[in-house]
């Protein structure tokens, strides 16, 4: 463990940085995102300080996604993005949540679970559709076993398109929603 800690001290924090930046002459390098996280996160923190008394809690509800959106939501908590430092965290119970982060088209099998989770969430709460599936049904649209977006089950406050949306896109959308 000391090996990891010593190396971290030597390297400095990775948070807000790119993993291993491509040299400038190497295309393609869509790598502005990491620096963007800092700016977005601090703006988000300011909003959360004012409106949620410094702490905004999210509850994830998977309604039939491919697990891509889940992976990106998890990534928000890894050392690169480390969203918790801005006052955002994911909680285990809907009863502690300010917002539901819903993924998936939703699948019909999960509709009931989604409704029950929403009922258990205290008001006011935001419903955030994360990913193309949750926004419109995505590539599943037209399947007999899914709906065309979360909107068919719950009123949606925020839509985050993308398949899956990149971690910084999720942060940007949350910020926009809080400002809007």
């Amino acid at each position: 463990m000391w090996e990891i800690l010593v190396r971290s001290l030597r390297q400095g924090v990775v948070t807000g940085k790119s993993a291993a930046p491509l040299p400038a002459d190497l295309a393609p390098a869509p790598r502005a995102a990491e620096a963007e996280i800092e700016v977005l996160g601090q703006a988000l923190q300011a909003e959360i300080r004012g409106r949620f008394r410094r702490s905004m809690k999210l509850r994830h509800v998977d309604c039939g996604s491919c697990n891509g959106c889940e992976s990106e939501l998890q990534a928000l908590l890894n050392p690169f993005y480390d969203l918790q430092r801005f006052g955002i965290d994911f909680v285990a119970s809907p009863r502690h949540a300010d917002a539901l982060m819903v993924t998936g088209p939703p699948a019909l099998h999960l509709e009931e679970a989604l409704r029950l989770t929403d009922e258990a969430t205290p008001r006011p709460r935001l419903v955030v559709a994360v990913g193309d599936c949750a926004c419109t049904g995505g590539f599943c649209a037209g399947s007999f076993a899914t709906r065309r977006g979360i909107e068919e089950v719950l009123a949606v406050d925020v839509r985050i398109p993308g398949c899956p949306p990149r971690p910084e896109a999720i942060v940007r959308a949350l910020l926009k929603a809080l400002r809007g």
């Binding site: 291993a20 039939g64 996604s65 491919c66 697990n67 285990a92 099998h109 590539f139 007999f144 076993a145």
Partner: protein, 535 residues
Amino acid sequence: MSEATGLELHPLESALRGLKQRFADAVIDADRNSMREHLVVVPGARLREVAAAVHREWGGTLVTAFALDERERHGRFRLHYLFSMAPDDAVLTLIAALPGDDPRFPSVTPEVHAAHWLEREMQDLMGVTADGHPDPRPLVAHDGWPRGCHPLRRDFAPPAGISWPPRFGFTPVEGDGVFEIPVGPIHAGIIEPGHFRFSSVGEAILKLDVRLAWKYRGLETLARGQPAARVLEIAERACGLCAFSHALAFSSAVEEAAGVMAPPRARALRSLAAELERLYNHCGDLAGVLLDVAYAVGAAEGQRLKEVVQQAADALFGHRFLRGLCVPGGVTRDLDDAQQQWLRDVLGTVRADVEALVRAATSNAAVMDRLVGAGALGPDAARDLGVVGPAARASGFDRDVRRTHPYAFYRDLDFQVPVRAEGDVSARFAVKADEIHESINLVDQMLLHLPGGLLIAERVVPPAGRAGLGMVESPRGLLSHWVRAGEGGAIDEWRMRSASHANWPAVAIAVLDNIVPDFPLVNKSFNLCYACVDR
């Protein structure tokens, strides 16, 4: 290959000869679909005994099994049971026709336990009946599905306005002090939905009933008759974290049906991307196990490494999950010399960091105390259930599609397949750690010998009626896609079985006699997907 060699130890040859001798009256027809796939047609009533012989006597391991609806043209249903004849690079497919008006057959599951979930699925989705199945409960169809709702039948018309309240007959366990713990489908973390019903005494788990299919999206029904590009989009989205493996298996299946091979450079880049996918999955898996034993430093480090590899994938191929890279015929992106050098450097640091992480975790008594002995899956159970991937190799079951049925560029690469005997959480952890090392070796080899030439074959249009099979060693193990072409290169039928589908029944066995609080750890050591199982 599969040509006769006269050697008794040649599994395919022994099986074909044995079938002719022992089941002369049962073999209706024998043919080949490709260099690799051998078809043997048997009567539905004899399917169980023939499958039993292929499995027990000639060493066939079940790859997948599915049903097709051919009532329109031939008045029948058709079953396919695909057996890998490893170490031969050959697949033996048993085919049985069932009458369209009474599709029953003797369940193969009592003899080949790996068919368990596959046959339950066939009953739900195709409405065929596997007589004598030891556990005929619905698998995909949650209660509340209307009667006669079989989405894979070609005349399926979705019932209007259905609601599917989830009710399910769980196996009750009775006795003094036995109680049930229901968990899910909505869990406490950022994870996928499944319902687990534990029957326990005190903390010890007596039985675990796993209820999945919450995410059923009807993908195979959605894909029917669609152009290959659309089915590829669906296949890639069957599973987020194994997206590239799915694209590769699907593309390989279409290429086999079309009789086309991707150019060498494309095949090498496919192997390279497949190893990148294995890397970010395995780094995430190591993190997951460490998170569940509350070893925060290690978990954060594992998540960091996963992110590093995903960012590299993104920078080089334009997507954090490698979507859009693999298409039937080849790949869509190339790597120039500078990018290759950069990738080598990045993976060099990943290798050193993973080694440090594994050293730190395995020398920590508090971590190893939880990992060693937890969730042990014995070698017999692993073979019997047809477990695949790192989970199989951690239980002493040495199987790897890259070696037995080489695809992409693996025939020309040199690599080790790590195997452990213990079958517990620590063995699965160690196998994945060793595989990270091997994956980086493989990427280095490919970067040294990256062949030149085209990235994509010009025309990949399978003739109508041709079928193809793609098998890939995804990060979680054997993944198979089977396609049959329709008119104009469309995909008429598509069947898919993921590694997680094969491994879920093993989780329910591995947790027995463990304590309930160890379930998340045992589950995480398998780290199975739900989306590509539910489909």
